[in-house]
Symmetry: C2
Subunit: 134 residues, 2 copies
DNA sequence: CCATTGTGGACTAATATTGTCCTTTTTGTT
DNA sequence: AACAAAAAGGACAATATTAGTCCACAATGG
């Protein structure tokens, strides 16, 4: 019941990007050094952020990555969902899972409520907000 | 970001116990058969529930396990915390961890809030409530 | 043409989770 | 006293997940 290290890397990366001048590209290498993240592993992680539409990339000499939308419009949920694909407190909440119990079993109902509550909290502050109050 | 299979086993076991007549002992074997849980693995799991004070055991011929307190006073949080030891959405929230960032960094603050929200939801229904509404 | 930077995929290593086996202790029953 | 039922405990094995590495390739600007 923890976010993975990879998710943490993604969060730190996104914050680093949010801190950079708007629209500027940062290279993967630079970020990996700043944040002490293995470069090749970071690359794989960035792929997930690209797929989720959170960052955009530019190849070549002055290329790199940058936020795909304003830091004020990105929250931790976006990042977590991008990296962990589908957040589900229990297998029975994952899409496509067919519970052998009654569909609305009380346990999964409770877990689902808890999960919603958690995600709602994570939606409250944007990256911009977070940078503001440190 | 999921509860483990072991935690699920523990939840199912606790519900089974809650369904049994008050004070009666059920054997590990019986539960493992009912719930289709590997017996030896279940035993290890039960140990955690004992340590957490959720169940009490009785050795010997008519022994087994039973709830250590009324089903109305046990919630999913109790079980999850018993099995997963210390729930922490991120390493930086685990007790004893020393964050290299400022102590109250905005990320851990957000994760902590989300975790609290989640746990609070999980505290709302007791095992008894859950049995009631299926 | 070449250095820089992202893309993609295969592979390995490390760690965590799940499951198994076997021995011991306790307890009621015969 | 002997025995069978049941929990306690610990070592080990199998799997699955997570993390990290390596290498060849593609785009881009100077």
């Amino acid at each position: 019941m923890q976010i993975t290290r990879q998710t943490e890397y993604a969060i730190r990366t996104m914050l680093e990007l949010a801190r950079a001048p708007r629209g500027e590209f940062l290279s993967t290498r630079y970020i990996s050094e700043q944040q002490d993240i293995p470069e090749d592993f970071l690359k794989k992680t960035l792929k997930l952020l690209v797929l989720a539409g959170l960052i955009s990339t530019q190849r070549g000499v002055h290329g790199g990555i940058r936020l795909a939308r304003p830091a004020g419009k990105i929250t931790l949920v976006d990042i977590i969902e991008a990296v962990e694909c589908n957040v589900a407190l229990n297998v029975c909440l994952a899409p496509g899972y067919n519970c052998p119990n009654q569909p609305g079993c009380p346990v999964s109902r409770n877990l689902a409520r808890a999960q919603q509550a958690m995600l709602n909290e994570l939606r409250k502050e944007s990256l911009e907000d977070m940078l503001g109050d440190q």
